[in-house]
Amino acid sequence: MTFLRSLSRRLKRRLVVIAGLLTLGYLLLPNIVVTVFSFNDPKGRFNYEWQRFSTDAWTDPCGVAGLCGSLSLSLQLAAWATLGATVLGTMTAFALVRYRFRARGAVNSLIFLPMAMPEVVMAASLLTLFLNLGAELGFRTILIAHVVFCLSFVVTAVKARVMSMDPRLEQAAQDLYAGPLQTFLRVTLPIAAPGIAAGALLAFALSFDDFIITNFTAGSTVTFPMFVWGSAQRGTPVQINVVGTAVFLVAVLCVLAAMVMGNRRNRRRAS
């Protein structure tokens, strides 16, 4: 009895930790499976059954026709979409917070529409629009579509930051001999930067793995998510797992680097 009681007490104390670890495991399990199967040497076309350890796919990631092409296309798309959405979104956010203009309220709610609308609906309507305009489907139409849905995320992230910014900081800069451009570059932009960076990261991630809208607006162009989808019908090369693992590792490394930098800064401040 005493043993049971002490066990239950210990369990109670660790409950939060245990729940956290379980959640983490739930989140990480798919990634672990992907990583493990990136070292598989499958029999046949499907990589769903463990056979034996092999690094073949890691040493030859571009060994599958079309994979690296689609990956590079997706990365380019994500980069351009991030740039476009971040520039436009930042300007929109500043306009919405700083200025009072007609239809400001309408713009404020319309900007959330791409976020709220089902992706399929937006994809179909964009396709209709492009077809009616006679636009040639391809890289440019995908890019336009990606900028549209990334925009609302960037606006949301930047707006929160700009709203919490004291307008007197810019007045202080002007008072200290900074002209409008200097004020923007030296004060406004650095203070808004964390919001802009958050928006940009979000935009990159969203654009990189978007499938539905891309599929509707791509024409014959194939992005990486489309390539994965397409090959899943016919057989899954191990290289897909390699790319998936690599993307996951890059993301984890980015987060770790940010944490280390933040820690170091805090320690320097404390000393």
Partner: protein, 413 residues
């Protein structure tokens, strides 16, 4: 610290040459200086008038305070001098130069903001160096170091603003403005966020810095004690206009409006009627009292029958028990009443006397020999010298300026 400042001012000439090349507005440097002159300046927002057409000259090198309750237009006036607000009419001149149309970054004027507005992403050193760098000055290290020593923050140079206490942030804000040796330093309620003790300390500090560097300071505040402690000249503002302007002692002793009389310290105001004139003095009646007032100290009507508010400060009034009224020297103004309330303040005792001519007559009595008979309910005679009496036009609101000063901010003791 004082030696640091001396070194600083010795460097002024070289610093100004750098300033000249970078900034045309600072062409003649702070030595040429000149007065700040506001002519007919006003500001309206839609139908709301923040500042009525205002003429004001602030002499070079003076410590000038704009005093008033919140919303009286004092901050707007300050912002128009800084260039952060565009006047609806009128002009702003610095010395001979009309700066009305110059943007803030071209005016040789710097501001210490109410919330300090320190740049959160820059450390203390870079905050202070900001103005120098924007004017294209490359080697700022020595100057910033000296300025930080002046405000006793040399050790904190590499900290971020949020790591400093309120008082330290305030000093950074002053250093950041002062390092540019502006012709005018504008201070917008810079001590408002500090606790009382720190505020007193910073008042003396700012006054000392101003005396050392000799730059014109224009200080906006709602704290009358702060204005009187620090400034050479105080302008009392009310509802967008300057009510009265002068040295603090002059404003306090000779208020010309009920607003000034009540806003600066406390005044006992008695409604009276001019009875007669004898030489330089006016004799007035209030109830059955006869009060004497020097004619020169009356800004109200002086012809007989004129309605005047007779005023006297609480600390200039004496309190005598009615039994000893015979001992009061002749020639003093007297009012009778009953003590309604008394509070012991340590240095002095504050009495509130209910008098037929003035329902809440306040008196401060120094605690030298306390008369045990002076308790609530006692019959007393209040008396004071006619020379300490002032007269105001009774056409004004007798209570103007009273509600705006907290009890702890009064002129007690």
């Amino acid at each position: 610290m004082i030696t640091v400042i001396r070194k600083n001012s010795a460097k002024n000439s070289s610093r100004n040459s750098a300033k000249d090349s970078a900034k045309d507005a600072g062409k003649d440097g702070p030595e040429a200086g000149g007065d700040v002159r506001l002519s007919g300046i006003s500001k309206t927002y839609g139908s709301f008038t923040a500042v009525r057409p205002l003429d004001l000259t602030v002499p070079q090198g003076s410590f000038f305070a704009l005093l008033g309750a919140s919303g009286c237009g004092k901050t707007t006036t300050l912002r128009m001098i800084a260039g952060l607000e565009e006047p609806s009419s009128g002009t702003v001149s610095l010395g001979e130069q009309d700066v009305t149309d110059l943007p803030p970054y071209r005016r040789p004027v710097n501001t210490v903001f109410q919330s300090y507005a320190l740049f959160p992403h820059l450390d203390i050193f870079e905050n202070v160096a900001f103005g120098l760098r924007r004017r294209g000055i490359k080697s700022v290290k020595k100057q910033v170091g000296e300025m930080l020593d002046l405000v006793q923050l040399g050790e904190q140079a590499r900290k971020k603003p949020h790591q400093l206490s309120g008082g330290q942030q305030q000093r950074v804000a002053v250093a950041r403005a002062l390092i540019n040796t502006p012709r005018v330093l504008l201070l917008d309620e810079p001590l408002g966020a500090l606790d009382l003790k720190l505020r007193r300390q910073m008042q003396l500090e700012l006054k000392r810095i101003q005396t050392e560097v000799g730059i014109t300071f224009i200080h906006v505040t709602h704290d009358q004690e702060e204005a009187m402690t620090m400034a050479d000249t105080v302008a009392v503002m009310n509802a967008g206009r300057v009510e009265q302007l002068g040295p603090p002692a002059d404003l306090y002793e000779n208020p010309r409006t009920t607003f000034v009389a009540n806003f600066l310290g406390t005044s006992n105001l008695i409604e009276a009627e001019v009875d007669s004139r004898s030489g330089d003095e006016i004799v007035l009646t209030a109830g059955d009292c006869k009060l004497v007032l020097p004619r020169a100290r009356c800004s109200g009507p002086t012809a007989s029958g004129g309605r005047v508010l007779v005023g006297v400060r609480p600390e200039k009034t004496s309190l005598t028990h009615a039994d000893e009224a015979g001992g009061i020297p002749a020639g003093r103004n007297r009012v009778t009443g009953t003590i309604a309330d008394s509070s012991f303040l340590g240095v002095s005792t504050q009495y509130v006397v209910d008098s037929p001519v003035c329902p809440e007559f306040e008196v401060y009595v120094q605690n030298i020999d306390r008369d045990p008979r002076l308790v609530p309910g006692a019959e007393v005679v209040l008396h004071w010298s006619p020379a300490h009496t002032f007269g105001l036009d009774a056409a004004q609101d007798i209570d103007a300026g009273t509600g705006t000063v907290g009890p702890d901010e009064g002129m007690a003791a």
